[in-house]
């Protein structure tokens, strides 16, 4: 978009707002002019978006502290479990939907009703597609028993009673196991020292089945019991990398998933709210509510949607692309 056309658009909008009659049906009784009302609504929305950023800020802070203290945990878990392809696809979807949203706002300002409706529908499709892909990813994590908190096999409180619980092996590992447990899995003496410190507080630790067990416990069962979703080779790599972590790090792998699910979960919730808001705006534009003099809801919902997009743009590299 050229600068001139932007200026023209802006002055057109201002002009449109100015020439509004006093008894504009959308003008609330406590405002003097539609222009004042529009400025108020826009400022209010920006302030609200500020509160959203601070709310996510708490989670980003928790992420930063945990990653700073345990960088290897984060690179291990991210590279072993997160699907970069799906994440990239989702990023593209959201960025595209932001484009269609911005286009829709412009269409509303220019009174291009059909363009507006098309853009809103495309934005909805983008948002819904994002959620579907996110659901596929979550499902994969559930299948691999790496969900949040006590539903995460790396968690100290991993739920013993869960239906997919696999009992810790009672007998010493077979040396022929695909994941060779003998030399590597045996904790080094320094690891063992750390492990005793830690093991005081982890009575119910269950190592990730198919990978390696907590130091000091009987070693891993054969890889045949590993979740079927992942190939044997990937499993081996994963197990190797897991064993390479220090005991303190091994114990904290579930923290990564807590951050992942809390942040993407809260973001997903915002996507759901965004979809609801866009649907509402879509219904109103089908009804023909908007004109070059009144497009505030489209504009504000657009701002909100861009925020949702922007937060994802931070989440994606912080989780999927770390090394």
């Amino acid at each position: 978009m050229s600068t001139t056309s932007t200026t023209n658009l802006a002055s057109g909008i201002a002009h449109g707002l100015e020439r509004a009659p006093g008894h504009d049906p959308h003008l609330a009784h406590h405002f003097h002019s539609p222009e004042q009302q529009y400025r108020s609504a826009k400022l209010g929305m920006w302030v609200f978006l500020g509160t959203e950023i601070l709310m996510f800020g708490g989670l980003f802070c928790a992420y930063a502290i945990n990653r700073h203290n345990h960088p290897l945990v984060f690179s291990f878990a991210a590279q072993s479990y997160l699907n970069v392809g799906l994440g990239t696809l989702n990023t593209l979807l959201l960025i595209t939907s932001s484009l269609t949203m911005a286009w829709g706002v412009r269409a509303a300002q220019l009174e291009q009703r059909r363009v507006l409706i098309t853009c809103l529908i495309l934005t909805l499709v983008g948002g819904a597609g994002f959620l579907v892909i996110k659901a596929i990813e979550y499902q994969a994590k559930w299948d691999e028993h790496v969900w949040i908190g006590q539903w995460n096999r790396y968690n100290n409180d991993y739920n013993d009673e869960s239906p997919y619980k696999e009992a810790p092996p009672a007998q010493p590992p077979s040396p022929t196991a695909a994941v060779s447990a003998a030399p590597e899995a045996a904790p080094s003496s320094s690891d063992a020292n750390k492990a005793t410190d830690v093991s005081k507080v982890k009575p119910r630790y269950i190592g990730p089945t198919g990978l390696a067990n907590a130091p000091g416990q009987p070693s891993a069962p054969p890889a045949a019991e590993a979740p079927p979703a992942s190939g044997a080779e990937m499993d081996q790599q994963r197990a190797q990398r897991y064993r390479d972590l220090s005991a303190g790090d091994q114990w904290r792998v579930s923290t990564f998933f807590s951050c992942y699910f809390l942040m993407t979960g809260l973001h997903g919730l915002h996507v759901v709210v965004g979809i609801a808001l866009i649907s509402w705006v879509l219904l109103r534009s089908l009804r023909g509510d908007f004109s070059s003099r009144y497009f505030t809801p489209v504009d504000l919902v657009g701002l909100y949607w861009h925020l949702v997009d922007m937060i994802w743009i931070f989440l994606f590299p912080l989780f999927y692309l770390i090394r």
Partner: protein
């Protein structure tokens, strides 16, 4: 605007009638009154439990309940209820939500806040959060103390801070519903902040530049900035706490690799600024009351305005002083201590300016002025003792003692409550259209002042001698202090009941209030008492809000009327 000026008969109270016209009102004045009903009820309930606590502490060993374990549980539930309700349901909303809602649009010469619907929504957030919170906490007290089991009355015994790891491991089961209640109350606070910031930005009338706003608006603006920036962090912290308790996510729980100190950092990142949410609007009220009742232009307007903003910003940088004894690094401790001292500067600027305003003023010893002067004294004591706690060496000794309890009660109660009462008396004629009787009000102010000092001054001494706070039992050496404290609390209770009766009497039997009973020049005094539904019959033009020479005493009766002579220009401030 085109309509004829409304008569007294159709003011905002009588504009429409019926339950629905109140429950679904979008009028900021009615919403302010709705808040008042519930905020004052919360204050009453939490105040009753404060007195029960003091009664409990009359003797070194619990005497109210024979079984010691049960007594302790009762005590823990009671002080959590007192603290949590006072903070979340009284202190934080009291001045912004009641007085702010009522006065802010009128000070702006506007008909309403920028988003009236959002305003009603934030009232309902408050209502739901408050009901939830009260039910859970009160249920716990009833169960612990009176063996009354109500479903869902799980109770809370963490204090208002919900510190981990206690709150994630052993505490009463009410932690989850209580934190969710606080979460909802937080949303009410955020939305009010959004509303006020937007209103102040976009609704100012012609002639009202930023530096011609009444100082109460500056204070509310600074408060709203804090509510907007800090409260979301509390919201996410509370969500993390709930997730920790329900799903064992390992962010705060040390058994799962989490860090309980991280919780303290998160919590105080909100809750230290929240202290300024409680005190800044109080300072705004005092700026109004002192100037109006001294009939003198406020002294050092710009300094007061800037110091409000400075307090709001500095408030974000000092949270670490709550963690001096929690294992924070020495470097962090030193920096936080230094920053804490810097807060003293804007606070002292304000006190200096209030005294400067009173100097050579024509001071009227009305009830609001009594409370305002009490505020200045108590705030000074509370502020200075804060320096003891901000200094690292003394804090190690004083941390978690009654000294801290006395300090923050001087600031939170001595200051915020006194300012709240000053503001309520100051705007009582505007809200109700009736005058209260001065003498009972003055007596109540003196009673509360004496009772307050009797309650909390001994706690400074006790704390300096090392009495730990929050304990249900104490060594017998401390008993005299505790007895004095308890008697003071009763005296304060009598004073507060007097205030309540005085208000009721004013409402029912008070004389009709003039439009401008005190001679103030901010815009809310330019309309009738009580104001019409859309606030002003004729849209007012903003002037210097402290130009008292615009008004002269009404020769025919009570109150002040516009001066006949053209006002002589007061010397410029700066």
């Amino acid at each position: 605007m085109s309509e004829a000026p409304r008569s007294q008969a159709t003011n905002y109270l009588t504009h429409t009638r019926g339950f629905k016209s109140w429950a679904l009102t979008l009028d900021h004045k009615r919403i302010g009154l709705l808040y008042m009903m519930f905020v004052l009820s919360a204050f009453l309930l939490a105040g009753i439990f404060a007195m029960l606590l003091r009664t409990f502490l009359l003797t070194p060993k619990p005497w109210m309940i024979a079984d010691p374990e049960k007594a302790m549980r009762f005590y823990n539930n009671m002080f959590s209820l007192h603290g949590a309700m006072m903070v979340f349901m009284f202190m934080i909303p009291a001045i912004p939500a009641i007085l702010g809602n009522f006065v802010l649009p009128m000070m702006l010469g506007a008909k309403d806040v920028a988003f009236p619907r959002l305003n009603l929504l934030s009232f309902y957030f408050y209502f739901v959060g408050a009901m939830f919170f009260t039910y859970v906490l009160l249920g716990g007290v009833l169960r612990a103390g009176f063996d009354l089991h109500i479903p869902g009355g799980m109770g809370l015994d963490t204090g208002w801070t919900f510190y981990t790891p206690y709150s994630t491991a052993k505490a009463e089961s009410g932690v989850i519903p209580a934190t969710l209640g606080a979460f909802i109350l937080g949303f009410s606070s955020i939305l009010t902040g959004v509303n006020f910031v937007t209103s102040i930005h976009t609704l100012r009338p012609k002639g009202m530049t930023w530096f011609r706003m009444p100082l109460f608006l500056w204070a509310l603006y600074a408060t709203s900035v804090i509510q907007i920036l800090a409260t979301p962090v509390l919201a996410i912290t509370l969500l993390l706490l709930v997730a920790e308790r329900t799903m064992h996510i390992g962010i705060f729980d040390p058994l799962l690799g989490g860090d309980p100190i991280l919780y303290q950092h998160f919590f105080w990142f909100y809750s230290h600024p929240a202290v300024y949410i409680m005190i800044l609007p109080a300072m705004g009220v005092i700026s109004e009351v002192i100037s109006v009742h001294s009939h003198k232009h406020i002294f050092g307007y710009n300094f007061i305005a800037y110091s409000s903003i400075a307090l709001a910003l500095l408030g974000f940088l000092v949270w670490g002083h709550h963690l001096f004894a929690a294992g924070q690094s020495n470097l962090a401790n030193s920096i936080f201590s230094l920053l804490t001292f810097s807060v003293a500067i804007p606070s002292a600027v304000k006190v200096f300016n209030w005294l400067g305003t009173m100097y050579k003023g024509s001071i009227h010893f009305t009830t609001p002025m009594f409370f305002a002067m009490g505020f200045i004294m108590l705030f000074t004591i509370g502020g200075l003792t804060g320096l003891f706690l901000g200094a690292l060496a003394t804090d190690i000794h004083l941390h978690d003692t009654y000294f801290v309890v006395a300090h923050f009660h001087y600031v939170m109660m001595g200051s915020t409550l006194f300012a709240f009462l000053a503001g309520m008396y100051h705007w009582f004629p505007k809200m109700s259209g009736k005058m209260y009787s001065e003498n009972p009000g003055r007596i109540a102010a003196v009673l509360i002042f004496i009772g307050f000092n009797l309650t909390f001054f001994p706690q400074f001494v006790m704390g300096a001698h090392g009495a730990p706070r929050r304990w249900a039992t104490y060594p017998p050496e401390f008993q005299p202090y505790h007895v004095a404290s308890t008697l003071g609390a009763y005296l304060m209770g009598i004073g507060l009941v007097t205030v309540g009766l005085n208000w009721l009497h004013g409402l029912l039997r008070g004389r009709a209030a003039p439009a401008n009973p005190w001679g103030g020049n901010s815009l809310e005094w330019h309309t009738s008492s009580p104001p019409p539904y859309d606030n002003f019959a004729v849209e007012p033009v903003a002037d210097d809000p402290y130009r008292m020479s615009n008004w002269e005493p009404d020769p025919t009766g009570e109150g002040w009327i516009p001066s006949k002579q053209p006002p002589e220009l007061e010397p410029a401030e700066h």
